[in-house]
Symmetry: C2
Subunit: 138 residues, 2 copies
């Protein structure tokens, strides 16, 4: 029941972009050094984030990445959904995953996973990047 490194690094990196929201584009190299993450792995993570419209890129020298929206408009859940797929403890209660098991009415445990999913979603949809950088500012 763990977040993948991809998801964890993604959230960390996005938090840094949020800190630097008013500066120009931030190159991945800086984030990679600061967080001790492989540059090439970070590139892999930023690709889907950009395609999902959470960040924007500036190519060429002096280029880098910046948030596509203000920090209070980006929820941690948004980031994780892009990097890890639907937030759900089991496939069969994943919204938008399409895969529902055939015996959902006979399933004793479905209710558990639905409650867990809702609780997880609620937390992750409630925390924005603005919250993240404020939490640690205290």
């Amino acid at each position: 029941m763990k977040v993948s490194a991809k998801g964890e690094y993604g959230v960390r990196a996005m938090a840094i972009l949020a800190l630097e929201f008013h500066e120009g584009p931030l190159p991945l190299r800086v984030i990679a050094e600061r967080e001790n993450i492989s540059l090439q792995f970070l590139e892999q993570i930023f690709l889907p984030l950009r395609r999902a419209g959470l960040i924007e890129s500036v190519r060429g020298a002096k280029g880098g990445y910046l948030l596509a929206k203000s920090p209070d408009q980006i929820r941690v859940g948004d980031i994780l959904r892009v990097l890890e797929g639907p937030i759900a403890p089991v496939e069969c209660v994943g919204k938008g995953s399409g895969k529902v098991c055939d015996r959902s009415d006979a399933c004793l445990t479905r209710g558990i996973w639905e409650r867990l999913r809702d609780s997880m979603s609620e937390v992750l949809n409630d925390i924005t990047l603005a919250d993240v950088i404020n939490m640690s500012a205290d």
Copy 2:
């Protein structure tokens, strides 16, 4: 952010033991057939559950397994903790895992994972096997 098959099967199997709480010991073969799970995989799952004191076994012919406590005394979280380790979205906030990262105060994202962990624990500690079999009885 998924529960493993081990965890999922474990909860399903325990729910069935809860349904049969007043009958004698239930052999794994029955659960395996009912839930379409490999018998030998189930055996692997039941071993740690027994060692953790959640179930008791009766050996020999007419043997099987039964809950060690009444269904309302066994929480879904108890089962998952045995089968999957501490309930935590990242290692470094796992209670009892011992591994805390060295820069926990500098970590921007720790607060997220703590909130998520608490919310997950709360749900899973709140649902007992008695709840599970009642949910679907409605």
